[in-house]
Amino acid sequence: MKAALAVAGWELRGAVRSRFVLGAALTFGAMCLGVTLLGLDALRGLGLAGVGPAAAGLVNLGVLVPPLLGLLLGAASLAGARERGLLAMVAAHPISRGAIVAGTFLGLAGALWTTVALGFGLASLVLAGVARVRDLAPLGALVGSTLAVGTAGLGVGVGISAFARGRSQAAAVALAAWFVLALGMDLALAGLAPAVRLGPEGLLVAVLLNPLEAGRILALLPTSAGGTALGPFGAFLLDRFGPAGAGALLVGAIVAWTAAPLAIAGRALARRVV
């Protein structure tokens, strides 16, 4: 445990110092700010007030960008350390391979959360002026699910890293995974839907198979009970399991998406030559 924490501290420090995290934090912050300002602007044009649409823009940003960051950070981790001989160095110390994976994940999760917090921090500075008390729950759900999907992306990224031949291969696979989850899955389902009508189980599986979609629905659950923003999958979940049940299911799916790749990574690393 002590050694795992040492690895975590090391990863966190390295990540915070690397330009990647700083750049990502600034970019994500700027994007959040932009989306928020545009959203608010559109509202004023309609003579409305509130944070709803601005938050909707942030949801899309939040379920797409942090998972990408997580995937890339995770993918670079073990594969990069292996390339630089650091993985072997660490592994020659009294620490199990599982603890190496756990420590790596924890440290990078800290870095990722810092990045996301910074981005949302910038957005909330702007939103603070217009937000009302009843907006707090949706905003909370947004931040929570964004952190969750980002962390799931990180888990998958670390998993990829444990198997990859090198850092560039890991990054390429991580990018591909992100495209599939962010775009490919929706497209495939949209294409399939008319041909094979997904039954209830099909719909359920489709959501649980895509952590990004799960995160998107989770973020929107508190705002739009039965609303159209949830999409067909979300509407189905809400209808079938109620808000609490749907929420639990989605959280469970995201946690599984985080934990399973890490467990697999730990076992893979134990067998692989570092």
């Binding site: 002590k2 050694a3 924490l5 040492a6 690895v7 501290g9 090391w10 420090r13 390295g14 110092r17 690397s18 630089r84 001989g85 650091l86 072997a88 160095m89 660490v90 592994a91 020659a92 110390h93 009294p94 620490i95 199990s96 030559v273 570092v274």
Partner: protein, 329 residues
């Protein structure tokens, strides 16, 4: 008492047989040198003994622990500085060492204290708070070596500790290593340089293609080469065979012509100067013009020649030359 016991160690990577039945025994508090050319299996041996790699067959115990079954316990009492310096360039020297201390389960305070000690000892105190990426090659090596000591290991493994260093840094590092040994650490080091093994090791094992082909003290090995070596090069390459015929019989035995360089080498025992003069005389009598003639201390290549009759498969360049690298470990 033996601190390292290795019996019949085998390891293959696909088709490549890296270790083909290695036996070693290292006594407590001694320095053991594993001497061999590129690809001999030195790093593979070290990686197995430091639990990073599982052997296909054979037994290995270090400090009483089985390297496979008691790997985690063993890792508490060993230190390793690998062939390529494994330090995080984004952390400072001090942070790198503290990190290693934490990996040995030391408290933050203790890790900091030992990091300070190591920085002092390896002459890195001034650069301690600079990112390691700004360090020179020699400083990196020292930091890496220092890191392997943070845990105060009973058994230390150094894989080619001075490869790639300039002669001055090499000498400095030798001093540090000798000092460590005086403090009682058992050390296994690998090297491609007979001179390095000679300076540091109590016992040397020569490895070739995954096998130990000879073992003994540096003096014993050198005796098998026959002391110094007379190296002769003639101006006209077409007359090499003729020259060889004239002088190969000079020494106490052996001798060889390198077909690539045209160099004729002859072990001369303790009789170097007389045989050198005799060689010059004979070649002169044949009317063969000399390009170069010298007496030199035997190198790994000479030991190989004497032991195996063939040159080291992938001949290393001399210590201060740049070395071919086929692959990073």
């Amino acid at each position: 008492m033996s601190v390292i016991e290795v019996e019949g160690l085998r390891k293959s990577f696909g088709e490549v047989v890296a270790l083909d039945g290695v036996d070693l025994e290292v006594a407590e508090g001694t320095v053991f040198g594993l001497l061999g050319p590129n690809g001999a299996g030195k790093t593979t041996t070290v990686r197995i003994l430091t639990t990073l790699l599982h052997p296909d067959a054979g037994l290995a115990r270090v400090a009483g622990y089985d390297v496979v079954r008691e790997a985690e316990a063993l890792r508490h009492v060993i230190g390793l500085a690998g062939q390529a310096a494994a330090i995080d360039p984004n952390l400072t020297g001090r942070e790198n060492l503290e990190m290693v201390g934490r990996l040995y389960h030391l408290s933050p305070t203790e890790a900091r204290r030992r990091a300070g000690e190591v920085l002092e000892r390896f002459d890195l105190a001034e650069a301690a708070d600079r990112p390691a990426r700004t360090y020179s090659g020699g400083m990196r090596r020292r930091l890496d070596l220092g890191a392997s000591l943070v845990g105060r290991p009973r058994v230390l493994f150094l894989d080619e500790p001075t490869t790639g260093l300039d002669p001055r840094s090499r000498l400095e590092l030798w001093d540090v290593i000798r000092e460590l040994v005086r403090e009682g650490t058992t050390l296994l080091l690998t090297t491609q340089y007979l001179e390095e093994a000679d300076r540091l090791a109590d016992v040397i094992a020569v490895v070739d293609r995954g096998r130990v082909i000879a073992r003994g003290t540096a003096d014993e090995l050198k005796a098998r080469v026959g002391g110094e070596v007379l190296a002769v090069r003639v101006s006209d390459r077409s007359r090499v065979p003729e020259a060889a015929g004239a002088i190969l019989g000079l020494g106490p035995g052996g001798g060889k012509v390198d077909n690539n360089t045209g160099e004729i080498t002859i072990p001369v025992g303790g009789d170097g100067t007389r045989l050198l003069v005799e060689a010059v005389r004979r070649l002169d009598a044949e009317g063969i013009e000399l390009a170069d003639i010298s007496l030199r201390r035997p190198t790994l290549d000479d030991v190989f020649l004497a032991l195996t009759g063939h040159a080291a498969e992938e001949a290393p360049t001399p210590p201060n030359g740049t070395r071919r690298r086929r692959r990073s470990p």
